[in-house]
Amino acid sequence: MNEQSVGTILAIVTLQMNMVGGGAPIFFARDEEEQQKVADYLSRILDATAHDLGNGSLILVMH
């Protein structure tokens, strides 16, 4: 159970190219549909949870 609050950001899937940067790999998506699809695939591949930041970015976090 992932009760611990610690998590690592494994990847970022974003629509806002100019709003993200930093250590994690960033995937740019053209529209929301593509963003959802990429995030879904990535979450399955990485066994990670996709979280919505509400500003056009999804982060994939390993809990």
């Binding site: 159970m1 992932n2 009760e3 959802q36 995030a39 879904d40 979450s43 399955r44 591949i45 066994d47 990670a48 949870t49 996709a50 979280h51 919505d52 509400g54 999804l58 982060i59 809990h63």
Partner: protein
Amino acid sequence: MFNLIPEYLLVILAGVVAGSVTRVILLRIDYRQYPGYPHGYLGHLFLGFIASALGAVAIPAIMEPDFAAATFLALAAQQFREIRNIERRTLESLERTELVRRGLDYIEGIARTFEARNYLVMGTAFVTSLAAQFGGPAAAFAVAIVAVLFSMYFMSGQVVGSICDVVPARLSFQGAVMMVDEIGIMNVGIKEMREKILRDGLAVKLKPRDGNARATIHDIGQRNAIAFTAAVVLGTKKDVDIPEFTPMARKNPDTGEVGLYIMPVEQDMEQLIAAVKLTPVLESARSKPLQAGVSIKEVKKQVNPHE
């Protein structure tokens, strides 16, 4: 001398039988604590047998008198502490591959319970053989029954249902945040997942009946145990690559109420409520801040003598 042997045989036999029966009964009561593992059952039954034999020979050893033999009981206690370690290690190593984890608190509780049970078995065997020695078979039988009942009462412990009300709750989403009634559980980024959760998920709310209960379900280990029990009884759709389906219990920081979310295989609200209610209150989680009143008053007096 020849007369003595059958007499002691009866005494020891009475103790051993009573002790072993206690072990079997205790094994049955707490199926929740240890689902499956037939080899584990066998191991515990055998250890229970040894424990009862140790308890039963104490009286003949003292009667003989052979006090050196009686001190072997101390050695036995050492042995049973080892049981706790074995249990802990077994469950911890299984935990690594468990999709929904028991949590360390639950494991510690189970390990401690197994140790304590052997002491109860030993105690039952001891008092039964004591009664057999001085009161004959009828007395032994009566004492054995009382001892078994006592053990059952002693080991039954509290369950979550006795300190909290468990009511069905509504799953919803506020933006990406999954809510159980007003309690935020987690952020789910993928829309398909949200739809699936709304379709197949179940949620309940635990309302603590008093401050003690609130402090108990505040404990992460306790909440983990509740989620684990729910997942065992109803099954879970979680898999390695779908961490969103992990059953989760989060609390409302203002009221102390806890919301539990689960993606069950069997979508049965009644079962879920029963499973949550049946979860044992962990020894490490149980706390009684309400009973601290008297000692806190003392401290207050020391801190502020003029009050």
